[in-house]
Amino acid sequence: MMPAGEHRWKILERIGSYAAGELEGEEAREVEQLIFERPEYRLLAESYAKMLVILATLGSEPVEAPEAVVGYVIRRAYISAFMRSAEAFIGALGRSYIDAFVYYLGLRRESYGGGT
């Protein structure tokens, strides 16, 4: 048998699902019966409905992010993009210098398209 605390919690959740309009058919009718029979369950269903309206109302209010957040993340993105480009540029420049140095020291013979 289910412990009393667990049973009460189950009812709490089911009436919540009913108040949120998520129960259909037989399940919904069972909860309606409970609500009809027990005034405390009716009060519970009404409390859920009130809470859900408040949550939806708060959820629909526009919330602006602080300007500091927006400014900071955009600045960071620009800096990181610049660093990426600089890294690529310096990398390419470094490789060119090494190639030139290797060529200058004669460590690698230059070949031009199929030559020997």
């Binding site: 919540g16 409390s47 809470m51 309206v53 408040i54 992010a65 927006v70 900071y72 993105a77």
Partner: protein, 196 residues
């Protein structure tokens, strides 16, 4: 911005286009901050929002457009918020030890319209405090469902859990939230239980 242009900007940003990223930040910074605010409260919301956008930019190259950009953004936002709360102790739920079922009192004064009553500063604080008492994963699911209006399929995608789990988390979050609110209002209900 439509979801089509979201996708287009996201694809451009994934190729390193900072201007496209800037557009996405301007368009969705409210969403990120709002969700962080609901899950974490005002104290941590700003830092978490910054962290979300840093993660978005860092992972932008992995965005392939397979899911909607907003779903992807919700996922990063919720994961970031949950990682902030990772150390939060797990509260015992799924048992209610109170003798009476919880209920919320009628709004004070003549104001019986819950929508209007919700605008009161005191009630906002009560809601935020009560939200803070719901276990983090359940709170996130509750916020996505009842404040952001996402479907269970979308919540499951964001939280990367099966649909049934998403539904269960919302249901538990809803019950825990009502208990916490009733406790705020009456100071005599408890969330009982044995860890979990």
């Amino acid at each position: 911005m439509s979801s089509d242009s979201d996708q287009a900007f996201a694809i451009r940003a994934s190729r390193g286009d900072v201007e496209a990223f800037r557009m996405l930040v301007h368009e969705h910074s409210g969403l990120v901050y709002r969700v962080a605010l609901r899950i974490l409260g005002s104290e941590d919301a700003q830092d978490a929002s910054q962290e979300v956008w840093i993660r978005v930019w860092r992972n932008m190259k992995n965005f392939r457009g397979e899911s909607a950009f907003s779903t992807w953004l919700y996922r990063i936002t919720v994961n970031t918020c949950l990682s902030v709360r990772r150390k939060e102790s797990r509260r015992g739920e799924r048992e209610y030890g109170g003798e009476e079922m919880p209920f919320l009192p009628e709004p004070r004064g003549d104001d019986t319209d819950p929508e209007a009553a919700a605008l009161g500063a005191e009630q906002r604080e009560e809601i935020q405090t009560a939200l803070g008492r719901v276990r983090a994963e359940h709170r996130a699911a509750l916020v996505l469902r009842h404040m952001e209006g996402l479907s269970y399929a979308e919540i499951a995608q964001v939280l990367e859990v099966p649909d049934g789990t998403a539904k269960g988390w919302v249901s538990r979050g809803r019950a825990a939230m009502l208990l916490a609110l009733a406790e705020e209002n009456h100071g005599r209900h408890e969330i009982g239980g044995t860890g979990g």
